[in-house]
Symmetry: C3
Subunit: 475 residues, 3 copies
Amino acid sequence: LTQPPPWGINTNIRLTLPVVCFVWQIAMIILFGVFIRYDEESDAHWVETKAHDNITSDIENDFYFRYPSFQDVHVMIFVGFGFLMTFLKRYSFGAVGFNFLIASFGLQWALLMQGWFHSLDPQTGKIFIGIESLINADFCVAGCLIAYGAVLGKVSPVQLLVMTLFGVTLFAVEEYIILNLLHARDAGGSMVIHTFGGYYGLSISRVLYRPNLHQSKRMQGSVYHSDTFAMIGTLFLWMFWPSFNSAITDHGDGQHRAVINTYLGLASTVLTTVAISSLSQKTGKLDMVHIQNSTLAGGVALGTAAEFMISPYGALIVGFFCGIISTMGYIFISPFLEKTLKIQDTCGIHNLHAMPGVIGGIVGAITAAAASESVYGKQGLINTFDFTGDFKDRTVLTQGGYQAAGMCVSIVFGVVGGAIVGSILKLPIWGDPADQNCFDDEVYWELPDEEEEHQGSIPPILEYNNHMIHKQQDL
Amino acid sequence: LTQPPPWGINTNIRLTLPVVCFVWQIAMIILFGVFIRYDEESDAHWVETKAHDNITSDIENDFYFRYPSFQDVHVMIFVGFGFLMTFLKRYSFGAVGFNFLIASFGLQWALLMQGWFHSLDPQTGKIFIGIESLINADFCVAGCLIAYGAVLGKVSPVQLLVMTLFGVTLFAVEEYIILNLLHARDAGGSMVIHTFGGYYGLSISRVLYRPNLHQSKRMQGSVYHSDTFAMIGTLFLWMFWPSFNSAITDHGDGQHRAVINTYLGLASTVLTTVAISSLSQKTGKLDMVHIQNSTLAGGVALGTAAEFMISPYGALIVGFFCGIISTMGYIFISPFLEKTLKIQDTCGIHNLHAMPGVIGGIVGAITAAAASESVYGKQGLINTFDFTGDFKDRTVLTQGGYQAAGMCVSIVFGVVGGAIVGSILKLPIWGDPADQNCFDDEVYWELPDEEEEHQGSIPPILEYNNHMIHKQQDL
Amino acid sequence: LTQPPPWGINTNIRLTLPVVCFVWQIAMIILFGVFIRYDEESDAHWVETKAHDNITSDIENDFYFRYPSFQDVHVMIFVGFGFLMTFLKRYSFGAVGFNFLIASFGLQWALLMQGWFHSLDPQTGKIFIGIESLINADFCVAGCLIAYGAVLGKVSPVQLLVMTLFGVTLFAVEEYIILNLLHARDAGGSMVIHTFGGYYGLSISRVLYRPNLHQSKRMQGSVYHSDTFAMIGTLFLWMFWPSFNSAITDHGDGQHRAVINTYLGLASTVLTTVAISSLSQKTGKLDMVHIQNSTLAGGVALGTAAEFMISPYGALIVGFFCGIISTMGYIFISPFLEKTLKIQDTCGIHNLHAMPGVIGGIVGAITAAAASESVYGKQGLINTFDFTGDFKDRTVLTQGGYQAAGMCVSIVFGVVGGAIVGSILKLPIWGDPADQNCFDDEVYWELPDEEEEHQGSIPPILEYNNHMIHKQQDL
């Protein structure tokens, strides 16, 4: 235990990691100095804005519409994604810690990238940020954290930062195309976040394929307590998913309806996940991998349609099928992807994000195409699909088509972007672990001396051994 | 460890669990399709409703009054109840996982049952749901999760689903009688949730009495980390209890006051719990069981009176006595219940829910009977006790009587309902574990191979043994 | 393992702990009965207040502006601080449990102390409380929990309660001087909470210096899972810090801006913490101590300036330097403090609270002094710095001076108050542990029998041993 680890100098990140952190953070400060300002609702001039716009109460500030949802989303990003990935027996530090690092960098870069594409003020050349910008930054980061799930345990923190830099950049572009150019609706990001993030991660993982990963097989399972830690992540994601899907939807009924739909869809997913998981074992035992992951698929798949009038039973149906498909994905598709397509997907993001994301895109397209004035009301239809300005003459059928087009864009950006970024990450300069040292915190973390942990329990055994030594001596 | 487990085919739930999950979920979808619709605040027609009702701002949507509380309640249901029950050394998966399953089913069934009883629109035959419906569904589920605490580790997931099906049904009926017919107030559910849920679980546990449960004694304790996990549950319940008791109280002062009272009552409970726990040990050491559970009794006991003008010191007094009674319950009453009444109460829900619930009902009745216009104001009294419509002439004294009657109803429903449901659960078809396999996740879960966990620490010992082998060989 | 522990009767707290809990809680009830009442927004007369003040909607109740932030702060106090301190291998019960106890007492005492100093109604002699009072009580408690971090594992729960009694008292006085007399702004408490709490704890720890603490060295480290538990605390503190710094700032832009600044500052801190942590190890490995603690320094340092127009890049810069300074504090300053100044600081609160708090005070003073009408607007400047009443003629430069003066007050109160309280805690009557029994839950908690935990894994070894016995017998 005191011997030097068998991996070589190549996992030494003492130069690269600090340099990347410092340089990029300084770049953020400079770019923020040049571009980012408070928007009118967070600026001290708000008192004048209020008077000017005849706003009677401070409670009309968008802050009060969105802050509770924002905080829930924030918990999903840092505790949800972070702890969901702690299931491996010896990669909890990397799961929570690197998730923390890349999300903290990513949200800054996202504010800039999304700002440039979505809200650069042409007159001042500034980006004005408020609570909705923070939510969108967290959303953008989510795409990269999903991708992290595919390569968990197999990459260095420097690689993760590079992956996040490009991931956020690609995200901002595809989001601009889907939401602004195609004018598709995707409030909870079935397409923009989950489909993109899923395929981005899978594509990177394909390029970084490790034929000898079995050499780390001993580290690839969970232990009892690591599975329990992972359930913290699962539950915070599950509970707060209604906030995720409603955080940036329309004030009033838009947020209200997105919450109800997501709440119901997720409940339905839990039952079918349990059913399939139980069916998959000889004696009907449940598998923690399914409970930790597939129970969330309904939330992913309602990311587009949650704000629509999909109706409560519609949400249940979406959740129903997603639980089935996602769990079967873990049982049948993941092994196939690994053996045939050489995609090693540590957390099974294909089953939790990519597939349900695509389903969500399709559900969104169909629901949009089937929308009618009788269900939404005349103004309700305009509000829900934002049929204003350049898009005021768009029909729901056309909208359905653009929704479907949006989904294709997110897949293409994920696959192609991931392939390119994967090639960059293949360069032998990033300090990634050897095949036999994957999934091991030992590589990048100072670990506590574990001998101490069993101090309380080992003595009886040692005592036993001592006893035997005496017996032996008697011999 | 590689041998087949000693229990027989009877814990095989590969048929029953998937069938129940699928059939019930499909039934939910059909019933939701027939009955459940968005209410006017979550429907896309809200823009028209707003215009019609002269509502000037989206922030007037009930969503913004209740969503933060809803999310806190949601966390209590899934993380709070789930993790509180992880204290057993090898039942964390069952605690968190089955809690997850039955809550997800229960909330769907609750929306229907509560809808039929409380909000079925006579004209359309539909149930219109909004954020308050979701809170009430979570509340209803809480009753069943409380009952789960009594039978934790001794039942199969199929039994839990059956228990939830009937529990939610009984809950909706007793709630209808207490809140609608008796017109009692019970915003945080001291009676409706905790008293009912507590006696329902205890009654079931009585019917399912296992005389040979001592055969599982080795599994009945906690370990250091499982106790730490349980504190996650305790704290999230404790912190968010103010949201629980205020989630469906009146807008404005009603919610505000319920929060203050619950916050104070719970703080007081912690001190007396610690005091009694320390007194109960020879050297004044504290017992984690008490800290995990009895600290919450004050929140239970303020479930009825939190919205009343019980006054801050009144809330402190309630918490003071509940901490004492609940902790003494763990020390004296639980052993008595097990030995004399043959009630095996795994989590001690009698001390945490049943007794404090009854106290809460009594406190509520007294506080209501003692209400006066000088304290509440004329309109305040009407608002707080909802003395409108059929009940506009009710006096506070009468109200106190109806509150007390409500408590009796909840006890009767719990005890009788539990006895009947317990008899159903006694049928030998549900796959429950043998007496020697209780409290063991091994029965219903694929467990990780634990040998690996100690990889880091075992080598020195094995090395020692190897060393001894060599010594032996030398001999 | 069955032998009596080696420490003597002096850690027996069976008399002192229950007596202190009971007497103090009864005192709270009496004082609350005499002094504490609901304020007008939580009183049942609110319906009349509304009519009288022409308030059109219940949503104008301060409850709806502050409740979501309050709940986040509440989570920080109980889960955040509690779990952050679970990093020690065998002090998780003490960390979470004693944190729970002293916070529950402290918030009651804080409502009284802060009430007497800040909001005693001169006419009625009453203190009227509402949601903002609860937030302030939680804030006040935070100061004492910070101090707990310095003496974690070395004091008895009775000492902690005494420390909290005096800590809350001192807090209320320094807060009154800083916020009311000096009229300094300190919404997130860089000075009032963190600087005071930090120096209060360090000063107490200095007085309680244990020259033979090395005798407990075996207990002073972490284990893998205790470090993972601590990350729960870290992340909930980190995620909810925007709520902490904005909870009592001005409605509207004040809360909105404080959230944005804190969110950004904390993100920046994470990157520089990682950079310095990696630099500090030969192979660039990260140290969990840094990730758990220093990542929070940016939130501390923005406690004063978060509500000002520090601008987004300004917040990033503050976070940038705090991550560096705090991490270097763990590497260089903590060992120096221990060796040279004899300050044993278990959690490193000097690096996480004291230093960043002072930085926050300085940043606040500079930002205030540099404020201008062009940046804030005329009315914005008045609102932000509350230049009304007696202070309507104060200039920003003067304000900067008073901010700096406030910081000095908080340091003096911390150091001098801590020295006095430390002397009281040095009396040999409080049941604190011997030098060789520090950092061990065994002293104050009934611990589960750990032998059981390894039941699953030990058998193979015992089997091995049995095998050897047979071999031996063959010999």
